[in-house]
């Protein structure tokens, strides 16, 4: 039995904000992500889903509890480059060419130049941008930049991919195309993914499981099993897709009604 890709046990995170007092961003989070699984985190703003992702990435440290990645501490996993990460903004270095952006993580870890070049060519082919290797990021559209960012996240062949609303800034058409590509890439590379999103259809289309979170403090309120199997454009029009969307929406709405009531009480 191999270790789960990610194992989060009793994690809470409190941000100390000075005079405004402490903010309890996450409280009592337990979550296990199996190897090869695609898990989305969805919830209202301020539910701590991005913080949860950063805890797994070891960019933020938990106040209590434990995060293990590939059976190691999150810190060891970060040092070993066990995960790749992509953010809402592509975050490409504008002074590097597309290929050199993809090579960045490999370069920092001392991979020889020739291997690096081979790998970046391979990755750019995977995201369909091989003819743009020599371009500058500013010459690419938003969707293309995001594809470069995904190629970069996959550069070190990580078993785990962490994505924080990577398609959030894209238009609907580009977004759907990128989702389809991500499903294909994950299938080809059998990568585990934790995916933060605001979009219910996106979460349902991509995921094996959708983790629904509630805000103040951030908690996991529901976990919806999806698993639509092989996906294509017809999936978006299938009954199963809509059923799951409704299920996730109701799980979220339960929380939102709760939130509104609380807001009313405060006034």
């Amino acid at each position: 039995m191999t270790a789960p890709a990610v194992e989060i046990t009793g994690v809470s995170k409190v941000f100390t904000t000075g005079q405004a007092g402490d903010v309890r961003a996450l409280d009592g989070i337990d979550l296990v992500v199996r190897a090869g699984e695609f898990v989305s985190l969805i919830g209202p703003s301020g539910c701590g889903k991005s913080t949860l992702l950063r805890l797994v990435a070891d960019l933020v440290e938990p106040t209590a509890g434990e995060v293990r990645v590939n059976g190691k501490t999150a810190h060891a996993a970060r040092v070993d480059q066990d995960y790749g990460i992509a953010f809402q903004s592509a975050g490409l270095l504008e002074w590097r060419t597309v290929a050199r952006n993809v090579e960045l993580p490999l370069e920092l870890h001392g991979m020889p130049k020739r291997e690096r070049a081979d790998r970046s060519r391979e990755l750019l082919a995977l995201v369909g941008l091989e003819e743009f290797a020599g371009h500058r990021p500013s010459q690419l559209s938003g969707g293309m930049q995001q594809r470069v960012a995904i190629a970069r996240a996959l550069a070190a062949k990580p078993a785990l991919l962490l994505m924080d609303e990577p398609f959030g800034a894209l238009d609907e058409m580009t977004r759907e195309r990128m989702q389809a590509e991500l499903v294909r890439i994950c299938a080809e590379t059998s990568t585990t993914v934790i995916f933060v999103t605001h979009s219910i259809p996106e979460a349902v289309y991509l995921s094996d499981r959708v983790v629904v979170m509630s805000a103040r403090p951030g908690r996991i309120s529901h976990v919806v099993d999806v698993a639509l199997g092989d996906r294509d454009d017809d999936t978006r029009e299938a009954t199963a897709f809509f059923t799951k969307i409704t299920e996730v929406r109701e799980a979220l709405r339960g929380e939102q009604v709760d939130g509104t009531l609380r807001a009313v009480e405060v006034r």
Partner: protein, 270 residues
């Protein structure tokens, strides 16, 4: 005005048609201005000591050409040495200031105070500090003038890091030096070059004006004052125009260096 337009290159402005109009428009305005000037002086019969005719200035430019070139070399050398010294000093202290809080708290108020000082007014003081046959006082004035814009922009450039880049490099467990090399330094370049561009024209102005306060009898500034003292106003104007050309040459050089150093900016988007 043209200098300001060239300083803020927008992607659209790089299309050939816009490039041409960007050159032609200021030329047309410039020629029209000179023609109006000439007509105004001739028609209103303005005395040369009030405002000489452009043709008279042109005549002086031709007559004094070798003198102008020699003076421009002297002032240009002062401006260049001061510009280099001031910029190197400013970039070095900028790096120090961006790295250490204590250094920053010490240096930033000092730099601001130095900037608030009428530095050119220090030229006579420097002249008595060093011998009056020395070029050091003038170069020192340029150094001090140049320091502030380069320092401020360097510090801001080094401090301005996209939070996404910070997180990204953290996720790679990059060492501080790797972070500096791959993100911080290249990210600071546009800011440093903005400082250098401002400093390049300031350097020439400071070099020329510092010659107004005695010392060596060389350079464009000295020639301007001596021509004016001899009521040779068209000649004074000829040297003023030479100073202007020298300043532009420095500015354009800084601009070209900027493009060479940052090809990703020169590229623009399509």
């Amino acid at each position: 005005m043209t200098a300001v337009a060239a300083a803020a290159p927008s992607p659209a402005a790089r299309r050939p048609r816009r490039e041409v109009s960007r050159l032609v428009a200021p030329l047309v305005v410039g020629v029209a201005f000179v023609l109006l000037w000439q007509a105004f002086v001739e028609l209103r019969d303005i005395k040369p000591y009030v405002l000489p005719k452009p043709t008279a200035i042109w005549e002086q430019l031709r007559l004094n050409w070798s003198g102008i070139v020699d003076s421009a070399k002297v002032s240009g050398a002062n401006a260049l040495v001061g510009l280099l010294a001031g910029s190197i000093l400013a970039i070095a202290t900028g790096i120090l200031s961006a790295r250490s809080r204590i250094a920053d708290e010490l240096l930033t108020p000092l730099a601001a105070a130095a900037n608030a000082m009428p530095i050119i007014a220090l030229a006579p003081v420097f002249n008595t500090m060093f011998s009056s046959t020395s070029v050091v006082p003038r170069r020192l004035v340029v150094t001090v003038v140049v320091f502030f814009p380069v320092f401020v922009n360097t510090v801001r450039g080094l401090r301005t890091v996209d939070p996404v880049h910070r997180e990204l490099l953290d996720s790679y467990a990059a060492t501080p030096w790797q972070f500096t090399r791959t993100v911080r330094l290249p990210g600071a370049l546009p800011f440093v070059f903005t400082g250098l561009r401002l400093a390049s024209s300031l350097a020439v102005i400071a070099a020329v004006v510092s010659e107004y306060f005695g010392g060596l009898q060389t350079g464009l500034g000295t020639r301007i004052t001596s021509a004016a003292a001899n009521t040779a106003y068209p000649r004074a104007w000829a040297y003023v125009i030479a100073s202007c050309a020298l300043g532009l040459a420095f500015y354009v050089t800084a601009l070209l260096l900027e493009r060479v150093a940052m090809p990703w900016r020169a590229h623009g988007s399509h």
